[in-house]
């Protein structure tokens, strides 16, 4: 079953379309990666899902209920973590979670128990200083705790790792993997290695449109990305240059190495034949996998 469905959603700012005819759904208990460059429309889409921005057209449903702009009851199913979450600096983490607990209608016993549990999970249990003294990483971890306080069905994370150092990023990604067992996670980012690490499904957003979506395998194996990528290492630079003259679109990747992108399966035989005919010895010939970065670059270029 889909926990989140967007149907033909569009949004413009001052006549400039930011999101155009966006449709996708997210299945329960998965991590859905929402990938796009800065300005692709990721945050706008997330804010529409949260009812913080009105959609010009289309319909958004969370757990089967329609999202309304302004005061949407669907937010009771959602936990939200922004890229740089802002909290009240004059409060401590425990006081802030108590405020969130009261707002969501939890009993004092329930929010105290859950707060202690989550602060332990995010490594802030022994921190009793006020939030104004927190680092970005600590704020991000508190953000995860507040987002998970009321056991949401859907956790929406808007670039949760973009402002963090590598250690902080790793910690946040591990936390997201941990919560996946009972919560669906929608995770926007432009850091592709994060997506490869934790996402079950993904959608590429470019200029407000989804240009590709599915599981990582489906995307890599889709016809539009099925071309071969070959890397050839030669014995000498002379051999390398002779091959380059025959295949001018090949690219240098190392002193004696060339790469050929987007070849058909049939080209492989041609290449082998050319190597034999021209007596070009190779040390290594390798068929490479397309990385997510390659796919993303290609999609953005298109």
């Amino acid at each position: 079953m889909s926990i989140l469905t967007l149907s033909q959603v569009s949004k413009s700012f001052g006549g400039h379309p930011v999101v155009h005819d966006l449709s996708f759904s997210v299945r329960e208990r998965s991590i859905f990666g929402f990938i796009g460059q800065n300005g692709a429309g990721k945050t706008t889409t997330m804010k529409m899902i949260l009812g913080l921005l009105p959609a010009d057209q289309g319909e958004i449903k969370v757990n089967g209920e329609r999202v309304l702009f302004g005061q949407t009851p669907t937010n009771r199913h959602i936990g939200y973590l922004s890229d740089v979450p802002e909290f009240y600096g004059f409060m401590t983490a425990i006081e802030y979670l108590a405020l969130c607990g009261k707002i969501t209608g939890m009993t004092p016993a329930a929010y105290k128990r859950k707060s202690a549990e989550l602060l332990e999970l995010v490594g802030l249990k022994k921190i009793d200083q006020r939030i104004q003294g927190f680092s970005r990483g600590m704020k991000q971890r508190l953000g995860i705790a507040q987002a998970l306080l009321n056991d949401p069905l859907l956790l929406i994370c808007d670039e949760p790792t973009s402002a963090l150092d590598p250690v902080g990023r790793k910690e946040v990604l591990e936390l997201l993997l941990l919560v996946k067992n009972h919560t669906t996670v929608v995770f926007s980012t432009h850091i592709l290695s994060d997506v490869e690490r934790i996402c079950d499904e993904l959608a590429f957003l470019h200029k407000g449109r989804i240009v590709s979506s599915g599981t990582l395998r489906q995307i890599k194996e889709s016809p539009q990305h099925s071309g071969l990528k070959l890397e050839l290492e030669f014995d000498s630079e002379n051999d390398r240059d002779r091959f380059k003259a025959l295949f001018p679109d090949s690219l240098f990747t190392a002193p004696r190495t060339l790469r050929l992108d987007q070849r058909m399966e049939a080209d492989m035989l041609d290449i082998l034949r050319v190597l034999t005919e021209h007596q070009l010895p190779v040390r290594r010939i390798e068929k490479l996998e397309h990385s997510l970065e390659d796919l993303f670059t290609e999609l953005v270029r298109e």
Binding site: L52, G70, Y80, E86, F87, K102, I103, G105, L149
Partner: protein, 256 residues
């Protein structure tokens, strides 16, 4: 109601921990003491001035001070106290909007009317406590030095200025929906006050407008009638309530 009390608690904690409560307490207590103190020191200051004036060939006769002098000082200082209050609280909503601190709570289901109502309640409560503490201190010291009986309708005239303050403070919330910063809100409040003041110069309009309440200080001298201020009080309170309602309605449809 649960959300309202939770958010009022947060607002109250913010007023205390960010030092606003301390500043307010200092300002209101200081002005409460200064009103009778300045009145008490006026003859001494006047004597000092008359010595230097005599050197210039000018003469001044001694002046007499009483409770009315102290209360006149109270009404002179009330606008200053109000300006300090507005400076402290003008960014109460704009700061939260620009920083994004409301987003995690709204996405947790916090009703937007509860945000506006909590802020409105805390604004009016802070003003009420501060203003009446200031009044109480002035009243006590004035009674100690002179006789408050010399001033007529003390409580009513003070109430008029208090209501004027409530009206000005209530303008903060609707203006915060349209303006991006606390300084913008401050200018907006000042601008609206100026517009209403200018309209109030028309004799036909004056008695209906909140700015009419500024003149209530003359009541302590026994001039004027209480009924002349009833309409302005009613309209000011109604307008204040309307300000909060308008802010809540507009905020409900505001993108965050």
């Amino acid at each position: 109601m649960r959300q309202l009390t939770a958010f009022i608690g947060k607002e109250g904690l913010e007023v205390i921990r960010t030092g606003k409560a301390t500043i307010l307490a200092l300002v209101f207590i200081l002005f409460g003491i200064l009103n009778p103190a300045i009145a008490k020191l006026t003859p001494w200051m006047f004597a000092l001035m008359s010595e230097s004036m005599a050197g210039m060939g000018l003469s001044a006769s001694a002046i007499e001070v009483n409770a009315l002098t102290s209360w006149a000082q109270f009404y002179k200082n009330a606008p200053l106290v109000l300006i300090v209050f507005l400076l402290l609280f003008a960014g109460i909503l704009t700061r939260e909007r620009s920083k994004g601190t409301l987003v995690p709570l709204v996405t947790k289901g916090l009703n937007r009317w509860a945000i506006i109502a909590s802020k409105g309640i805390v604004l009016v409560a802070s003003w009420s406590i501060g203003y009446w503490v200031c009044y109480g201190i002035t009243y006590g010291y004035t009674a100690y030095f002179w006789d408050n009986g010399a001033a007529s309708h003390l409580l009513f005239s003070a109430f008029c200025v208090y209501v004027l303050g409530v009206w000005l403070i209530s303008l903060i919330l609707p203006l915060s929906i349209f303006l991006a910063s606390g300084s913008g809100v401050m200018l907006g409040v000042g601008g609206l006050f100026a517009v209403v003041y200018v309209i109030g110069l028309l004799p036909e309009a004056a008695k209906y407008l909140p700015t009419r309440l500024l003149e209530a200080s003359t009541l302590i001298q026994g001039t004027g009638r209480l009924s002349e201020y009833a309409i302005a009080i009613g309209i000011s309170l109604l307008w204040s309530a309307l300000n909060i309602c308008i802010a809540a309605l507009l905020f409900k449809r505001q993108a965050l």
